[in-house]
């Protein structure tokens, strides 16, 4: 069994390589994904090994990337599209929402668009505007799309391959500020035995309150749980992994035990994932709740200048503050 220590970025790169090896219909396309290996080097070395017809440097046009990938999918390919940054996906929004998401439905099931749209998302890297956004609600709200995100190297390696192998169109959000985090990755475990793509996972068991997070906020919440434990409070942390469809079985079970739930995401709170999670947990766990479901999120401003993003982004203290409030209700 080959277990290696990899960063999330390298685990994604290795997963993409596996997908290219395993299925000749897999094509990677995007801006700078070829020679450069992508601005985050996630596709590093792939064009060199698989050629420029399988790892395609595209013109600088996001709608074009997704629109032509639709055509390639109709032709039988499995395109993996890279959108360079979260804030640059909007020119492709029409193709994603009106075409990618609806093609299977409109065709009465006759056409599949087995496309993966990779988007590095979220803040925390000191970037200029349009490079730190969290657009997941736009996609999770769209019927016909599935949305997933990974929070550790093992999931990055497995989930990217699962997403590519799926016939559903999937928006794959990559926690860009965690690209350099390291972890153990089992490179040989067969994909067929892997943990299901659209399932949430308890990443730290606890008894006093339930914290739901995904992507870059999973690390933040795990750190918060460690701090809380020092104060004698055990938080159960759940990594949602799949944002559409949501898998809340573990969350319901957990909240029925703890009676308290805090949802954490970088995206603004208004009409965001947290609202849906709060509504569904309330509906399912109404008689178990000791307090309302609370949200810890980015604010309802445009993503702010980098020098204040630390204050904008949920951090350990804001998570613990929300947990405290659930106990003070």
């Amino acid at each position: 069994m080959a277990t290696e220590t990899l960063t999330i970025g390298k685990a994604l790169n290795t997963g993409l390589r596996r997908a290219l090896e395993n299925d000749s219909k897999v094509i990677i396309m995007g801006e700078d994904v070829g020679k450069l290996g992508g601005v985050f080097r996630i596709t590093d070395g792939l064009q060199k090994d698989f050629g420029d017809q399988r790892v395609i440097d595209t013109p600088l046009a996001e709608s074009g990337i997704i629109g032509t990938a639709v055509g390639l999918a109709i032709r039988g390919y499995r395109p993996v599209c890279e959108i360079q940054f979260d804030g640059f996906v909007y020119p492709a929004y029409d193709q994603i929402v009106s075409q990618v998401a609806k093609m299977h439905y409109r065709s009465g099931g006759k056409l599949n668009i087995p496309m993966v749209i990779r988007i590095p998302f979220g803040g925390g890297i000191g970037a200029v505007e349009h490079h730190s956004e969290s657009p997941e609600a736009y996609f999770a709200h769209t019927a016909g799309l599935k949305v997933v995100t990974c929070a550790n190297p093992q999931d990055a390696y497995v989930m990217i391959q699962q997403a590519i192998a799926s016939d559903d169109p999937i928006v794959f959000l990559e926690p860009k500020r965690r690209y350099w985090e390291k972890g153990q990755v089992d490179l040989d475990a067969p994909l067929s035995d892997a943990y299901p793509l659209h399932s949430a996972r308890v990443v730290r068991p606890g008894t006093d309150a339930t914290v739901l997070a995904y992507g870059p906020m999973v690390r933040t919440c795990l750190d918060a749980a460690t701090a809380a434990a020092e104060d004698g409070r055990e938080l159960e942390v759940i990594d949602l992994r799949s944002l559409s469809p949501l898998d809340l079985r573990a969350a319901y079970e957990s909240v029925k035990r703890t009676g308290r739930a805090v949802v954490v995401h970088e995206a603004p709170s208004n009409i965001g994932l947290g609202a849906e999670l709060a509504a569904r947990i309330t509906e399912e766990c109404f008689y178990s709740l000791e307090s309302p479901v609370l949200r810890v999120t980015g604010f309802d401003t445009p993503y702010p200048a980098a020098r204040v993003e630390e204050e904008y982004l949920p951090d350990l203290d804001r998570v613990l503050d929300a947990v405290d409030r659930t106990f003070g209700w």
């Binding site: 595209t58 074009g64 009106s98 009465g108 006759k110």
Partner: protein, 391 residues
């Protein structure tokens, strides 16, 4: 008409006795059949390509039959909308030649990406003409299998399909299916209004830099709903191609022979690996944009009358009569077939059942979704709660 290969075109520069460049009225327009029904042996495009057709009498008669049937079925659909049987209809009236000419120029292996008005191309691809009526009646969203008929679904978002066609054509290249006579090509249909869309311009860029085996077929019917061509462009549309690095040609879109010839040539160039090209089929939308539109608010009757004189079907009929390729018996027989098929179409539209409400949950995802399973179950229970009640 589909029998054999009517040849279509040649790149030879040899002088043909009656060859002339374009027509007297518009030197840029490729025309092989005048509005009066006069055949022109060959016409030369802006890049020197010589266009000609060499049809048998039976093939000429076949084209006429296609044109008449397509117009009659379209008229029937308009009537069905007026009687409340369709929610909407986008008529192709006036554009029959552009669609039948280009549609018959497609080879079996070529893939077409239509807008929502390509009923004539759909007909040429062998798809049951009832299919789009399901979409416009609101009982389904199209219905045909795009891969079976090599004709993608109708696309209502303007210009989006040009990118799909470009990606599909890139796939042809990656599959190694170009460079031979039996290679594949794709064709993207769109209108004059679409040329202002970002997607269409992106498609031009992509097709060019990837040398995609693709024909951009623009039916310039002069209007984007109410907005005239002048609101979309200050240069003739076919000239846009030059800026993107591939050839463009303007063809008389009311001339089925020329529409066939330029499309066949462009497709064959594409399948041979010579890359994309743009065809501007210069035509006119004789009817409304859709049945919800009122063109009297934005265009004058004399303009419509001037185009009436260039009717795509009348000129073929005049040609067939003058050349004694068809007689009165043939024309009557075609009319009778058209009448019969339109009655049949009507009968079948009226019989189209409404879908079961629960089917709205079908085919959202190839792999399904637990959220939808839950909603479907809840909805089914809710619907069943009415069974036996007054509802």
């Amino acid at each position: 008409m589909a029998k054999g290969d009517p040849g279509g075109t040649t790149r030879s520069r040899r002088a043909a006795p009656r060859s002339r460049k374009g027509t007297a009225g518009d030197p840029a327009l490729v025309q092989l059949l005048t509005p009066d029904g006069e055949r022109i042996d060959s016409a030369t495009g802006p890049d020197g390509t010589e266009y000609r057709v060499d049809f048998t009498d039976e093939e000429y008669r076949g084209l006429y039959r296609d044109l008449v049937l397509v117009r009659k079925l379209d008229a029937e659909a308009t009537a069905l909308q007026r009687q409340g049987e369709l929610g909407l209809w986008a008529s192709l009236l006036g554009q029959e030649a552009a669609q039948v000419g280009s549609g018959r120029a497609l080879r079996a292996q070529d893939m077409a990406f239509p807008t929502y008005r390509e009923h004539g191309v759909l007909y040429c691809r062998g798809i049951d003409p009832i299919m789009p009526l399901g979409l416009f009646r609101g009982v389904d969203q199209g219905g045909w299998d795009p891969n079976e008929f090599k004709f993608n679904m109708y696309t209502i978002v303007i210009g989006a399909q040009t990118l799909h066609a470009t990606g599909y054509a890139m796939g042809i290249t990656i599959d190694g299916k170009t460079g031979t006579d039996d290679g594949e090509a794709a064709i993207a249909y769109f209108g004059d209004g679409a040329t202002s869309q970002g997607d269409v311009n992106e498609a031009f860029v992509w097709a060019s830099v990837f040398n995609a085996p693709l024909v951009f077929f623009c039916q310039n019917n002069q209007y984007a709903i109410s907005e005239p061509l002048e609101r979309q462009t200050r240069v003739p549309l076919y000239q846009r191609a030059a800026g993107f690095g591939f050839p463009g040609v303007r063809v008389d879109g009311n001339d089925v022979l020329a529409s066939y010839a330029v499309t066949r040539t462009a497709l064959d160039n594409a399948r041979l690996g010579q890359g994309p090209s743009l065809i501007e089929a210069y035509t006119y939308r004789m009817g409304a944009h859709t049945t919800s539109d009122d063109p009297t608010r934005y265009r004058i009757a004399s303009e419509v009358e001037a185009w009436q004189a260039k009717d795509p079907i009348a000129r073929v009929k005049a040609f067939l009569e003058k050349q004694q390729i068809a007689d009165a018996g043939f024309f009557a027989e075609v009319d009778e077939q058209a009448r019969r098929e339109s009655v049949h179409l009507r009968e079948r539209v009226l019989e189209m059942p409404n879908p079961e409400p629960v089917t709205m949950f079908d085919h959202v995802y190839p792999n399904g979704s637990p959220l939808l399973d839950e909603q479907r179950a809840q909805f089914s229970r809710y619907m069943e709660s009415f069974e036996g009640s007054a509802h």
